[in-house]
Symmetry: C4
C-alpha cells in the first residue's frame, strides 16, 4: 500500500470503501476503549472483569499507536511546500494540532505498558478522536475564535466581579459563617457556584447583607450568560452568511459552461444570484413562457413536467439555463414538488455580465452549439437540457 | 360518512363545525386522561377513587383507539401518488410520524385491557396528541433540524468536556470523597449536574483542585448554553425571514388581477415589495395626489376617508392599486388609524414588470375595463375600488 | 382644575411642572408603601412599630384610591370616539388594562378598611404602578406578543418533556426513593426543578437509570432556554429595526420644508436615507466643496466651523440641506467632534424625488427665496443656514 | 523625563519599548498584589508568612500610589481644551472615570499605612486595573449602554415578579415553613434564589401550592434570561456592524491616492465596497484579464504570482488598484492561498465616483504618472504595483 493510498484510507472526508470501513472500526474502538476505562474505574465491575477490561483497554490503545504511526507515514506534502520531501511533511504533521492530538491518544497505551500509574484512567482523551470527524466543530471553532476578544472581555469582567464579590462576602460573612467564608479563596468557591447559578447549597450566606450581595451576584451571572449568548449569536449569524456564500459559490462553480472562467467571475455570478422560496405546489416556470432567468436548487425538490416524463431535481441541480443561451421559450413546466429554496440568475444580470466579459459569450455560444436537440435530464447529471426546444 | 368528510372532521386546520367540535372533545379528553393518570399515581387519591379513575382512563384510552382507526380509514391519497388506492394511502399514513404517534397513544388502553403492568402509568404519551395542533412546532422543528449539525457539534464538545472533567475529578477527589467520586461513572453524575449549572448539591468537590476544576466546568457549561442559544437565534432569524417571504407571497397571490399568472411572476412581484412602517395618525396617501404605488397591509389598520364614509382595512387587505392600472389621481385620503406595516409596490417597478411580461398588461387592461365606477370597498372583500374616480 | 388640566398632570409623558411633582410623590409613595408592607411582615419589626407601619400603609393605600378616582374623572375621550361624552370615556378607561391595574392597586387600602384579613399583605401589587412609567416595557411587550406563538410552542414542548420525564422517573425511582418519587405529581416537582436547572437538591434520583434520565432532562432544559433566547433575540432585532425606521421617519418629518407634504412622501424620503458612521475627528464636509448630500445627526456630535464661530450640533439636528436647494458650494467645514452616526440624503436621490413630485420643487423654491443671507444656526433651532453663502 | 514622554510610557496602546516593559511590570504586580491579599486571608498561610505577605502587599500598594501620581503629572491637555494648562488637565483627569479608578487602587496602601482596619483586605479593587488594557470592554460597554433602557425594563419586570412571588409564597408557606418563609423579606431570598435558577436548596417550598408557584417562578426566570440574551444579541450585532464599517473606513483611508480627499468621500468609497469570500485555492484574478475592480484584504491571505516571484498579502493590504487608474490588463495572477474575505471596489462604481468628484480624477492621474514601471510589492508596504504592466 503506497503512501497516497494510505492517506486516502485515513482521510476523514474520503468516500473510499476502505476509508469507510476504517472509520467504522475507528469509531467502535473509541467507544469500546472509553467503555472499558469507565467500567475499569467501578470497583465491583473491575473486581470481576479486570483482565478482560485491561485486555480491551490495551487493544484499543495499541490500535491508536498503530494509527498514529500510519498517519505519520502517510502525512502528505502540502501544495506549494513540496520541497523537503516526506520527512519534512511528517515532521510538519507531527507538530500540527491533529498530530499532537493523535500522539496524546497514543500515550495511554504506551503509558500502561510502561507501568505508569493512572495510565489506565486517562483513556478519556480518546474522546478527542471524534473531533476530526465532526464537520460542524470547524465552524464553531471559527465563531469562537472570531469572537475571542469579546468573550475574553466578558470573562475578565466575570473574574473582576467574582473577586470583588468574594472579598465583600468574606468581609460580611466571616463571623456568621466561619467555615464557609473563613478566607477569600473559600469565599471564591461560593462566588463561582453562585454566579454561574449552579447553587450547590453547600455554602449559603446567612447575614442579610450577604444575601443581598448574593442576589446581585446571581443577577450578574445571568448578565454574563446573556452577554456571551449575544456575542455568539452575532458571530454565528455572520458565519452562517459566510458559509452560505461559499455554498453558492461552489454551486455556481459546478455549472459546466462556467467551468473554465476563473474564480473572480464565478464570485461575480454568485453575487448576482437572488434567493427565492417557493411553497410546495407553486408553479416555478410554465411551458411556453419566455424564459427570463435560470434557477439553482438549494433546498427542497422541483418537478420538471416534460411531455414524456416527470423528472425530480434536488439540491445542487439547476434548470432553465437554456433560456440564457438561446432565448427560446420554456419547453417544460416546473413545479415545486416540495417547499424549496432556489437561487435565480436574472437574464438582465446575465447579459450585463456578458457585456463586461465578452470571452464568456464565446464559451456560451460554443456550449449552445454542442447541445443535442432533446436530451432528457437524468438525476445523476445536471439537468442541462430542460429548456431545449424539441 | 364518507372518507373525505371524515378526513375533513379530523383535519387539524379545518374550520368545519364538526371538526371544531371534535377538537374541543379531543383536547378535553387528553387533559382528562392525563389528569386521571396523575391522580391514579397518588396513593391516597387512588385508594379512594380507584374505580372512577380507571374508568376515566379506559374511556380516554378507548377514544384514542377509535381515533386511530378513524384516521387510518380516512388517510387520504397524496397528490401525485393516487395509484394504489386507499389501502396504500392507509399504509403510508400508518408508517408516517403522525401515524406512529397516534398508534403510540392508542397503546395504553390496549395494554391496560391486556393487563400489561404499568399500562395505566404510560398515559403521559397522550401529551404528544397536542403536538399536531401546535402550528409553531413545525417552524421550531425546521429551525432545530437546519441547525442540527451545529447543535450536535456543541453536544459532542459538551460530551468530551464532560468525560474529561469526570475523569479528572475522579483522579482528584476519589480519596477525599470516595462515596461520590468512587468511579468515573459516579463522577459523570457530578459533572453533568455541574456543567448544566443544575447543582443539586448532593455531590460537591472537597479538594482545592477539585473545586478549581468545578469552576471551569461551570463556565464551560455556560459557554455551551450560550453557543446553543447563539446557533438557535441565527437559525430562527433565518426561519422568520423565510416565513415572512412566504406570507408576502401568499398575500400577493391573492390579488385578483395577479391570480392567473403563475408562481414565478408572483415571486417576482413579491421581491419588488418594500416594507414600510407608518406611525399611528400618519397620512399614507392624500386625495388628489398622483398615485405612485399600491399598498398591502401586513399589520395594523388603515382608515380610508371616502367622501361618504370611513372604511377600515386590516391585515391581508390592500389599497391604491387602481393607480397602477389607470394612472388617475388618488380618490381618497388614507390614514394609519393604528401604527401599521405596509408593503408598497412602486409604479416604476410595476411598469418595468409590464415591459418584461406583456401578457400582464392585457390582463390588467381587461381588469380595468370591468371595474364599476364607484364601488365602496367592504371589509370582507379586498378593497379593490378605493382609487376609482367617481 | 378642569379635566384637561388634571389629565395633563396625571399623564406619564407630560413635562408639565405639576406632572413632574406628581410623579416624584407617586414614586416615593409606591416605594414607601412596599417598604411598609415588607417591614410589617417581619415579626420583630412589626411588634415594635406596628401602628406606624399600619398608618403608613393606609396613607399610601388612600393615595392610590384618590389617584384612581382622579384618573377616572380625567379619562379623556379618544379621537374618533367623541360621542358618548365623559361618562363613556370613563367607562372605557375603567375597563382598560391601565384602569384595571389602578383599581387593583386601590384595593389593598379598601380591603384593609373593610378588615379583610391579609389586606395588609397584598401591597406588592403597588409594584405594578411603576409599569406605566417604563417606556421600554412597551417594546418588550410587543416583542413577546409577536413571538407569542413560537414561545408557546416551546412551552408546550417543555410541558410534554416535563410530563414524560416525571412519568418515567416515577417508574424508575419509586422503589428506591418512595418519599420523593411516590407519585407522578411528586416526580413533576423534581422534573421542573431539574429541567429549569434550578436543582434545589431536595430530591435527587438514586438509581443509575434515574440519573441518566436526569442528565437528559437537564440538557433538554438548556435547549428550551436556548430556543427561547433565540426566538426573543430574533424578535427583538426586528423590533429594533422597526423603532429605528420610526425614529428616522420622525426626524425627517421635522425638516421644515418637508413639513406640509404628507406622510407617504416622508416615508419615501426616509427610505432614501443611508446611515453613515464617522470616527471622531473625521471631516464630514469641507468649505468650498460642491455639496452632494445633506445629513441628519442620529448619534454623537458634529462641529460646524463657521468663519466667525464654532457650532456644535447633536442628535435630531441636520446640516448641509442648502446644497439640495441652491447648489451652492459648502460654506462651512463640518467635523465629527465625537464619533457620530449620520443619515445622508444624496442629491441624486433628492432630484429623482423632485422629478416624481413636482409640487415639492415649488415648496423648496419658496423656502429658498425666504432664506436670509447668513444666519448663524442655534442649538435650539434646526441648523438651517449652515450652507448659506455669505 | 518630560510629561509627553511619561504619557507615552503610561499609554496602554503605546508600542514604545518602555511602555511595554511598564505594562509587564504592572500586570505582574497586580497579580502579585491580589495573590498576597488572597493568601493573607487564609489563616494557616497568614500565620506562617504574614510579614512576607504584608511586605508584598505594601510594595504593590506603593507602586499604585506612585503610578497614580505619575499619571496625574502626565495628564495631557485634550485637543480643543488647551487653555488652563497642565493644572487644569490634571484636575480633569483626576475626576475622570480612569482617574477615580486609579485613586481607588491607590487607597488600600494608604489605608494600610494609616492603620485602617480591613485595609489589607480590599486589594481586590486592583483587579479593576486590568480594565484599562482590555480593548473589548469598550465595545461591550457601548452595547450595554445602548440597550440600557431595554435591560432595565426587563429588570423592573424581574423585580415586580420577584416581589409578587415572594409575597404569595409568604402567604402560602408561612405556616408550613415558618423558618424560611416567616416574613416577606425572607421569602424574597427564596424567590431570587429560585428565579435566577440558582437553587441552593436551603429553602424549598413544602406545600403543593407553593411548589406550583415555584415552577412558575423558575420559568419566569428562564424568560428573563432569554429576554436579556435576546436584547444583548441584537445590540451586539449592531455594534459588530458599526465596528466593521469603521474598519472598512480606516482601510480605505489608508489608500495613498485617496489620502487627501476628506472623510466624506472616503465614507462614500467605503459604502461602495462589497465583501466577497473566496475559498482557499480560488483564482481571484488572472494575468492578462481585463481589470474590473480592486480588492482590499480583510481576512486571510492572497498569493500574487508575479513572473519573478510570489508575494503573499495579508489583512490591511490591497491589490488590483492599477486597473482603476490605467485600464491596463492584469499583470499578475492572484490566488487565495487561504480562505479569505476581500472587499471589492467595482470599476463602474469608481468611475461614477469620478464623475461626481472631478478633483479625484486629477489626483489619480498625478498618482498614475508618478508610478514606476514594474515595482515588486513588498509586504511592509501596500502592494501598489501589482497590476503594473512590465
Amino acid at each position: 500500500m503506497d503512501r497516497r493510498r494510505l492517506y486516502t484510507v485515513l482521510d476523514p472526508d474520503s468516500s473510499d470503501r476502505a476509508a469507510r470501513l476504517f472509520r467504522v472500526v475507528h469509531h467502535v474502538l473509541v467507544a469500546l476503549g472509553i467503555a472499558a476505562m469507565l467500567a475499569d474505574s467501578v470497583p465491583f465491575i473491575a473486581a470481576d472483569h479486570d483482565p478482560v477490561l485491561r485486555a480491551g483497554y490495551y487493544l484499543v490503545g495499541a490500535f491508536f499507536v498503530v494509527e498514529y504511526l500510519l498517519r505519520l507515514i502517510a502525512a502528505p506534502e502540502m501544495p506549494g511546500q513540496e520541497h523537503g520531501g516526506p520527512l519534512r511533511a511528517r515532521l510538519r504533521w507531527a507538530i500540527s494540532l491533529g498530530g499532537m492530538l493523535d500522539l496524546l491518544c497514543a500515550l495511554p497505551a504506551i503509558g500502561a505498558l510502561a507501568r505508569v500509574p493512572w495510565a489506565h484512567l486517562v483513556g478519556f482523551v480518546w474522546a478527542f478522536k471524534y473531533v476530526r470527524y465532526s464537520p460542524g466543530l470547524a465552524s464553531l471553532n471559527r465563531v469562537v475564535r472570531n469572537a475571542r476578544q469579546a468573550l475574553l472581555s466578558v470573562l475578565l469582567g466575570f473574574a473582576i466581579v467574582l473577586l470583588t464579590a468574594a472579598s465583600i462576602a468574606y468581609l460580611l460573612e466571616r463571623h456568621a459563617n466561619p467555615d464557609a467564608f473563613g478566607s477569600i479563596p473559600a469565599a471564591l468557591w461560593w462566588a463561582i457556584v453562585t454566579m454561574t447559578t449552579t447553587g450547590y447549597g453547600d455554602v449559603v450566606p446567612q447575614t442579610v447583607a450577604g444575601r443581598i450581595l448574593g442576589g446581585f451576584v446571581m443577577i450578574g451571572g445571568i448578565l454574563t450568560f446573556a452577554l456571551w449568548a449575544g456575542i455568539l449569536a452575532s458571530g454565528y449569524a455572520e458565519e452562517l452568511r459566510r458559509r452560505e456564500f461559499l455554498r453558492t459559490w461552489e454551486l455556481v462553480a459546478k455549472v459546466p459552461f462556467l467551468h473554465n472562467i476563473g474564480a473572480s467571475l464565478i464570485a461575480e455570478v454568485a453575487s448576482l444570484l437572488r434567493p427565492r422560496d417557493f411553497p410546495a405546489g407553486a408553479v416555478i416556470m410554465r411551458r411556453g413562457q419566455a424564459g427570463d432567468c435560470m434557477y439553482f436548487i438549494i433546498d427542497g425538490e422541483a418537478e420538471v413536467q416534460l411531455p414524456s416524463q416527470r423528472v425530480y431535481l434536488g439540491p445542487g441541480q439547476f434548470f432553465g439555463e437554456v433560456a440564457l443561451l438561446t432565448g427560446a421559450p420554456r419547453n417544460a413546466t416546473v413545479v415545486a414538488s416540495q417547499a424549496c429554496t432556489l437561487l435565480s440568475l436574472d437574464i438582465a444580470d446575465f447579459h450585463q455580465l456578458l457585456g463586461r466579459h465578452p470571452e464568456l459569450a464565446r464559451i456560451i455560444h460554443a456550449e449552445a452549439q454542442q447541445r443535442p436537440g432533446d436530451v432528457a435530464p437524468t438525476l445523476s447529471e445536471p439537468a442541462l437540457a430542460i429548456d431545449e426546444s424539441a
